[in-house]
């Protein structure tokens, strides 16, 4: 524990942590099953097996879990504490956020030596999360559009009609497949940054995502 990070603060509320870890789990499941759907391995030994059936079942169940988690997090951004608020994800709209973003960027580019302390999210990260959020939305939309085709003229198929009129079926498939790599790119960045901030800030960045508590330089006002 660092000398200067001496105040314990509750940052990540329970719903935020739950959403985070449900996302992690469902994305892991979705990625593995998704690649097996896109490029299947011939697991089946007999025609009465149901391996692809189960793989798809897991994919669709995880997709629903992920969608519910995503929707819950959006709702929580209106009722949660200041660190969970929707404003956190639009830091570039505020002068303070922009300043902090520039300092964060300077630190990442190895120009500054002082780690700008962040209680809650850092503005550079939340900007990335905003982009990621839209990526998630398009994943959900393309995924459910492809899924809904098993029941044409059904409620889901009809309410996603705008998707079919905008994009071709194969185009949605390509996007859905390729976007997973974009999310992988984000995950590499995300885990690296969490590790970096954990060792540089000494505020227990990583364990805060389990406990909800961070150690900060200043007392909570």
């Amino acid at each position: 524990m660092s000398e200067s990070c001496k105040f314990k603060r509750y940052i990540w509320e329970l719903p935020v942590r739950w959403c985070h870890w449900i996302n992690v789990l469902s994305i892991a499941l979705l990625a593995v099953t998704g690649f097996l759907i896109g490029n299947p391995y011939s697991f089946g030994k007999s025609a009465s097996d149901f391996t692809m059936g189960w793989i798809r079942f897991i994919h669709f169940t995880a997709a629903y879990a992920f969608t519910v988690s995503l929707a819950s997090r959006v709702i929580w951004s209106f009722i949660g504490n200041r660190y969970a608020q929707w404003r956190e994800f639009l830091p570039f709209l505020y002068v303070k956020g922009r300043e902090k973003m520039i300092r964060m960027l300077r630190y990442y580019m190895l120009l500054d030596k002082e780690v700008p302390e962040t209680v809650g999210h850092n503005p550079l990260a939340t900007t990335a999360y905003l982009v990621l959020f839209f990526l998630y939305i398009t994943m959900v939309l393309t995924g459910f559009s492809l899924y809904a085709e098993h029941a044409p003229q059904g409620i889901m198929h009809k309410s996603l009609g705008f998707m079919y009129s905008m994009f071709s079926n194969q185009g949605m498939r390509l996007f859905h497949h390729f976007s997973m790599y974009l999310i992988f790119g984000f995950i590499v960045n995300h885990i690296y940054s969490a590790w970096l901030m954990d060792i540089k800030e000494h505020g227990s960045e990583i364990s805060s995502m389990f406990s909800g508590y961070k150690f900060t330089v200043k007392r909570e006002e």
Partner: protein, 379 residues
């Protein structure tokens, strides 16, 4: 197979004009079509329209009484494959019965008349039967530069469809070209090929895409109109739901192999010979809506997947541009050259990110940073 020769067809066509006032039942009896063949035909049509079997007698009853509609068949930028599909259809003698129940007054490929005589027949229909005739269009409409790239009888195809389809009771666009432009509309689309719906926006148009159209679906669409006096229910692409309401993948006879996880890995391998799922060979069945698995082609003998070839997705809009490459699951990534699959580009992207962060991490590990302090500019 089809027992039609051109002489007979032109004869039918002439008879058609003469017998316009007779009901279909009367004409079929005159022509010597047995009651048994007629009932078989009605059962097949009832099945094609996705109606319960109890409807077959009602279809027969209605067809017995109804008058024959006048039909004109326009051929635009096409390969005549749809005409072939209709003439070769023979289940049970559909080709014959169709041509008996319809008064085909104009069909470039099979009519006896030629030149000014033929055009006069078409003009006569347009004027005398205005709003009462059915128009079938085969092939795409050339739209670019005022439609100068294709013409028949000295008139551009664009002008022809606007005139003929505009005055028709309904237009049936047969085949993918007439429905959405088809192969002619594939990039770079030099003639501005488009479907009839795009060329004549106001007209009542039913799309029957497919390459070629399934003649049973065409006949069923016409029979539906004759029996119920209204057009069948359509989806958002103007396709009858009875024929295009379900995905190929969901009615496919090889679907159990898909769910089981048994796939053809290579052409001609043991799995291919055993009839496993063609998903990995680029089958577009999961992206294509059509009744091929149930309706099939050529006297219901077979269809592409039944014959061991993956579905090409021929009946979907923008077929060719969106469904290629034919033997791959996913389209190539645009802007990265040919053969750039999503996986190749994606792995390169993630590897690049990982390498960049590894360098960054190493630099940070050897560097001594100041940790946040009370003197910081925070909050």
């Amino acid at each position: 197979m089809a027992k039609l020769d051109t002489g007979k067809i032109s004869n039918v066509s002439k008879q058609g004009v003469e017998n316009r006032d007779c009901s279909i039942g009367e004409i079929l009896r005159q022509r010597g079509v047995s009651r048994r063949d007629f009932m078989k035909f009605c059962s097949v049509m009832t099945a094609a329209m996705s109606l319960p079997a109890t409807f077959a007698p009602k279809v027969a009853q209605a067809l017995d009484k109804v008058k024959r509609p006048t039909l004109v068949w326009l051929e635009l930028q096409s390969c005549t494959g749809d005409t072939e599909a209709l003439l070769r259809s023979a289940n049970p003698t559909v080709g014959e019965i169709v041509l008996e129940i319809l008064s085909v007054d104009y069909h470039e490929t099979i009519m006896a008349a030629a030149g000014h005589q033929a055009e006069a027949a078409l003009d006569k229909v347009i004027v005398e039967e205005k709003g009462k005739y059915i128009c079938v269009v085969e092939g795409s409409v050339s739209m670019k530069n005022g439609g100068i790239y294709a013409s028949t009888g000295g008139k551009s195809h664009l002008d022809r469809v606007r005139q003929v389809c505009g005055g028709a009771l309904a237009t049936i666009a047969v085949g993918t070209c007439a429905s959405y432009g088809g192969i002619g509309a594939a990039a770079p689309n030099p003639t501005g090929a488009a479907g009839v719906r795009e060329a004549v926006p106001g007209a009542t148009i039913i799309n029957l895409p497919g390459c070629p159209v399934n003649a049973d679906n065409l006949t069923a669409t016409i029979v539906h109109y004759l029996v119920f006096s209204k057009l069948p229910a359509l989806d958002s692409y103007g396709r009858p739901l009875f024929a295009y309401g379900k995905r190929i993948h969901d009615n496919c006879e090889r679907r159990p192999h898909f769910d089981a996880g048994q796939y053809v890995e290579q052409w001609g391998d043991d799995r291919h010979r055993r009839g496993f799922c063609l998903y990995k060979m680029g089958c577009k069945g999961p992206a294509t809506f059509h009744n091929c698995p149930t309706q099939r082609y050529n006297e219901k003998t077979s269809w592409p997947i039944g014959a061991g070839h993956p579905c090409a997705g021929c009946s979907e809009p923008n077929f060719w541009d969106t469904m290629s490459p034919m033997y791959k699951r996913l389209p190539n990534v645009p802007g990265f050259g040919i053969e750039a699959t999503a996986d190749k580009v994606g792995v390169a992207l993630v590897a690049g990110a990982a390498a960049a962060f590894a360098v960054h991490g190493t630099l940070n590990a050897i560097r001594k940073d100041k940790e946040p302090s009370d003197k910081g500019k925070e909050e």
